[in-house]
């Protein structure tokens, strides 16, 4: 299985490498994650493992959650995600995965939930330029401008970028370089930013982006 773990974004800082160069890094706390369930082709029509990260108090879990984790003798988890596999799972239900499975991994994909920005206009949401600040423009400096043609097609083309809810959605950043792995503290340092607020839940896996010719 490609190394995959659930974790939390801790925050950003900067570190120096051996050559004295500065790297802006995001610190991620990964695992330990328990395998709560193994999905198999015979039973579930697909192969996957279900990972759980961070215990939560039993009283704040539903009875269904408690029953589900009781099968592997675990505590209810705050963050549960499935990882799809091509081959039958190597891990049994109840196994605990830790950050050392990322040993030797050079780049990762990080899946998180973006910070919510509420109902946003086109300038913030899609990077539109807006209209002019002057030259007779009135009350529509941040307006999107024209959204289509006229009598033909007499409708707005589907997929038109407009204003609306922005953020608070699943977001993936791919091929993020790993700067350092601290398996002892379950920390992974990756170069650059990661979606979501500090403390937000993330899923990290070895990148599925094909290596470029240079690498």
């Amino acid at each position: 299985m490609t190394p995959t773990l659930l974790g939390q974004k801790i925050g950003m800082t900067q570190v120096f490498d051996d050559e004295g160069n500065v790297h802006p890094v995001t610190v991620l706390k990964l695992g330990p994650c328990q395998v709560l369930q193994v999905r198999t082709a015979e039973k579930d029509k697909y192969e996957a493992v279900q990972l759980g990260y961070l215990d939560k108090p039993r009283k704040s879990a539903t009875k269904a959650e408690r029953g589900h984790v009781a099968k592997v003798g675990a505590e209810p988890k705050r963050f549960v995600r499935e990882v799809r596999l091509d081959a039958p799972a190597e891990h049994e239900a109840g196994a605990v995965l830790t950050a050392d499975i990322f040993d030797g991994v050079k780049a990762v994909d990080i899946i998180g939930t973006m910070k919510g920005r509420g109902y946003s206009g086109t300038m913030k949401r899609h990077g539109f330029g807006g209209l002019e600040a002057t030259h007779g423009v009135q009350r529509s400096h941040r307006a999107p401008g024209s959204i289509g043609c006229s009598a033909y097609p007499a409708r707005v083309i589907k997929g038109r970028k407009m204003n609306g809810q922005y953020g608070n959605t699943r977001s993936t950043v791919r091929n993020v370089k790993v700067v350092r792995l601290d398996a002892e503290q379950s920390l992974l340092l990756v170069r650059g930013g990661v979606p979501g607020p500090n403390g937000g839940m993330v899923m990290v896996r070895e990148t599925n982006r094909k290596k470029s010719k240079k690498a």
Binding site: I10, G11, T13, Q14, V15, F16, D18, E19, G20, V22, V25, V27, K29, D182, Q185, L187, L189, N198
Partner: protein, 167 residues
């Protein structure tokens, strides 16, 4: 606001245990490691520390000097391995944490700060490095001036640079 403990743990490996000590207003020699091909050499940047900001690994300081009548500022990260050492050549009495007002000063005024009456001996060391640096820039002229006493030299130079700025 205190720093997140895990972030502090991450930073701890990048922090120097023997971080250079100096204060705002000090005139310092910053020894910078420079990699040329596979050879490493040390370059010295001399000037007045006019600001210090940030915390943890991102803590840095600003050094200002006047080169050929033009103000030059460099910002160094305190904990960078590329900073070999920071030598204090002169201390000064200042009443501000940020000496940005020096930017508005021209000529002699630009580096005239009240000196703290300590470490007189290091004055000569500073003069020597100054002369060395100047030699590198303008070989012929500098060698002549090197013979002149240190105090006069500095004044003469500043007058010259002030004149450059005007013209």
């Amino acid at each position: 606001m205190s720093i997140q403990p895990l972030l502090a743990h991450v930073q701890s490996s990048s922090l120097k245990s023997d971080a250079p000590e100096f204060q705002i207003g000090d005139t310092v020699d910053v020894h910078v490691r420079i990699l040329e091909g596979d050879k490493e050499r040390i370059q010295i940047f001399t000037g007045i520390v006019i600001a210090r900001r940030g915390q943890g690994t991102s803590e840095n300081f600003t050094v200002r000097r006047i080169v050929a009548g033009e103000g030059v500022e460099r910002i160094f990260p305190i904990h960078s391995p590329k900073i070999a050492k920071v030598e204090i050549v002169r201390r000064a009495i200042v009443r501000r944490a940020k000496l940005y007002y020096l930017r508005d000063r021209i000529g002699k005024q630009a580096f005239r700060l009240k000196e703290r009456p300590i470490e007189k001996k290091k004055e000569t060391g500073r003069a020597r490095t100054r002369v060395k640096a100047r030699k590198a820039r303008q070989a012929a002229a500098a060698t002549e001036e090197a013979a002149a006493p240190e105090k006069k030299k500095r004044r003469r130079k500043t007058k010259k640079t002030a004149g450059d700025a005007e013209s």
